[in-house]
């Protein structure tokens, strides 16, 4: 591996395997959990889970919260949290609606939505880092604030977006690639790569890991703590606005309570993926698989033949099993 290492005797296989498992324990854990759940659904509902239709459905519905989960992962790795993104999804759409109605341009509307989402994230970041309110508390506050602002600005009304569906950017966001693959999924893949690169191959990710792992060390080693944390909140805001725009355009309707049901599934996806609520640990890969586990459960339960009433029960069981596996792996290997 290194020039120096090659001069030493070759590492014993056992040591190498241990080092490998230690480094990748969390990723292996989530992969096994993901495959186990998938296999369970295939065995219990083969007709559903061996056809492509169910996967195309997942590919459209999962990105609405998976896109936010990717960037929320980075916020949580830095030791913060953001509970305001469901409201940011709707507030961004207020920006879309106003600009779209004023200019008639869907493209400008989408840009406005992303800008509003980014500003909402900036607001979160500023009050967390400069006023010093813990992110959990601050974003409970802004979650109400942003939702309240949304309701007041649109007077509680919902808007039909049918006339927006003819714009080229409509197809770009929520169309079908080759008439088959939902564009939501394509965007999710692109953004997953972006998030992975930012987290693992960019200063911002390095800073996020250090800040979340040891804030004192980050301070002593001169890491721009405030700037990094604020930027991470901004990214979640932009991602939430994008997800909100996709969700609204897909159903060609914007209603001001949009996003409300996304809070817990998104957080669950992040934590199932092995991200530590204490910061310093987490991966984009884990969140990606975690999101599809969460995304598959509801449809899976119905396909398996259980009633919808079982949904929360299974959610709970899967979430607890996954985080228990992570906790045990961590104790065993580190």
């Amino acid at each position: 591996m290194t020039p120096a290492a090659s001069t030493r005797p070759a590492p014993r296989p056992r040591g190498a395997i241990t080092a490998f498992t230690t480094t990748w324990a969390s990723q292996i854990g989530i992969t096994v959990a993901f495959l186990a759940l998938w296999l369970a659904f295939i065995v219990l509902a083969p007709s559903t889970f061996l056809s492509s239709r169910i996967y195309l459905a997942f590919a459209q519905t999962t990105p609405y919260f998976a896109i936010v989960a990717l960037f929320l992962t980075m916020v949580i790795i830095a030791g913060d949290i953001d509970l305001s993104f469901p409201s940011e999804m709707a507030l961004g759409m207020v920006g879309f609606t106003f600009v779209w109605q004023a200019t008639g341009s869907v493209e400008l509307g989408i840009l406005a939505a992303l800008l509003v989402g980014g500003l909402a994230g900036l607001f979160n970041g500023l009050i967390v880092t400069y006023i010093g309110i813990p992110a959990l508390v601050a974003t409970i506050g802004t979650q109400f604030l942003f939702r309240g602002l949304t309701l007041v600005l649109v007077n509680g009304k919902s808007y039909a977006l049918v006339t927006a569906s003819t714009a080229p950017s409509y197809d770009l966001l929520v169309g079908k690639l080759g008439g088959v693959v939902p564009m939501e999924f394509v965007w999710l893949l692109v953004l997953a790569v972006v998030a992975w690169v930012l987290l693992n191959r960019h200063r911002l990710g390095q800073n996020a890991y250090v800040i979340g792992d040891n804030g004192l060390a980050a301070q002593l080693m001169g890491i721009p703590i405030r700037r990094s944390r604020i930027l991470l909140f901004v990214l979640v805001g932009v991602a939430a606005a994008l997800a909100g725009a996709m969700n609204s355009l897909q159903i060609v309707n914007f209603y001001p309570t949009m996003g409300d049901g996304f809070l817990l599934p998104t957080l669950a996806a992040v934590f199932i993926g092995g991200t530590s609520v204490f910061g310093g640990r987490g991966s984009v890969y884990g969140t990606f698989l975690g999101a599809f586990m969460i995304g598959a459960i509801q449809a899976g339960i119905v396909a398996v033949g259980l009633t919808d009433y079982y949904t929360n029960l299974i959610y709970g069981a899967v979430i607890l099993a996954a985080v228990a596996v992570h906790a045990l792996l961590q104790r065993r290997f580190e």
Partner: protein, 306 residues
């Protein structure tokens, strides 16, 4: 602490430890015999509490200054001012004779100041290479990391400077699994990797075994031999005395005295320390002894008898 008391005062000459390889190449001497670092009339208070008051400190080339003082004497604050973590309320800082305003950690590191904070400044869950390059990763202009580069350099440092020989330890190993001595090696190599001229060791012997402490003290001697400078902070006078050229005693935010180790025996210094601890200053007798040192209270290293 008890480890040091049983040790000989001056560490015996021993074969070079692997860690010293990190000191190469030797630092360029500061231009024109300038002081590496000068602090003038530094004051700092937190929420109305005066932590430092009118502190002066000089550090020459190839000089090891020991900083002693009780808890709350202001050692940590003084260090954090030199490293740019805190800004002083008043006073000035000069590096190589040049006054530096608005010092930040980034600026201080660029000026050649590196600090060994022991394990307090390591991120446990992150791999070795991310710890080595913490705060100054090798990155392109857009901030994208050159990970392969950093992994390779970490691997070289591990085998050449840290003396890590276990096959289980790779640049991707997380710090959590390292022993105390390995963590200390990591913290030191991190400080030295970046061509530091001024190395600050903050309580480096805390929690170390006797053997690890000896290794550390020999390493500090190596800093001087390489023409670099060091500030060694410890609450243990035995450790500081054995390696420092000069000892500065801080008491309640003021410099209570400076003592070249060439002129003061360990016993005399112990007496002075006791005096300082109870009175906040040293006695007339000690003051008289110091009279032949420069009156500002800052001792020129070059003027000391060899």
């Amino acid at each position: 602490m008890s480890a040091g008391e049983r040790e000989s005062v001056r560490p015996p000459t021993q074969p070079a430890v692997p860690i010293m390889a990190a000191l190469e190449p030797p630092a360029a001497p500061p231009p024109g015999g300038e002081k590496r670092l000068e602090l003038r009339h530094i004051s700092k208070s937190f929420g109305g509490v005066h932590v430092l008051h009118d502190v002066n400190l000089d550090l020459g080339a190839s000089e090891v200054v020991g900083l002693l003082g009780d808890n709350g004497a202001g050692k940590s604050t003084l260090i954090k001012i030199i490293t740019g973590v805190h800004r002083p309320d008043a006073g000035e800082i000069r590096f190589g004779g040049q006054r530096v305003e608005g010092l930040t950690v980034e600026k201080a590191r660029a000026l050649g100041v590196e600090t060994v904070y022991q394990e307090r400044a390591l991120a446990d869950q992150l791999p070795l290479w991310r710890n080595i390059f913490m705060g100054r990763p090798v990155a392109g202009p857009l901030g994208f990391l050159k990970v392969g580069n950093m992994r390779r350099m970490t691997g070289e440092l591990m085998s050449e400077s840290m003396g890590f020989t276990s096959a289980v330890l790779t640049p991707d190993t997380v710090v959590k699994g390292l022993s105390g001595g390995e963590r200390q090696g990591l913290a030191i190599v991190r400080a030295l990797h970046f061509q530091a001229d001024i190395i600050i060791l903050d309580e480096p012997t805390m929690g170390l075994s006797l053997k690890e402490t000896e290794k550390l003290l020999r390493f500090v001697e190596g800093i001087r031999a390489a023409g670099k400078s060091a500030i060694f902070i410890d609450h243990n006078i035995f450790h500081v005395y054995s390696v420092a050229d000069r000892i500065i005693v801080l008491d309640r935010g003021r410099v209570a005295g400076q003592f070249p180790t060439s002129r003061y025996s360990l016993e005399e210094l112990l007496d002075i320390m006791r005096e300082v601890a109870s009175e906040g200053s040293y006695t007339e007798q000690e003051r008289y002894r110091l009279a032949d040192a420069p009156s500002t209270g800052s001792t020129e290293h070059g003027e000391e008898p060899a």
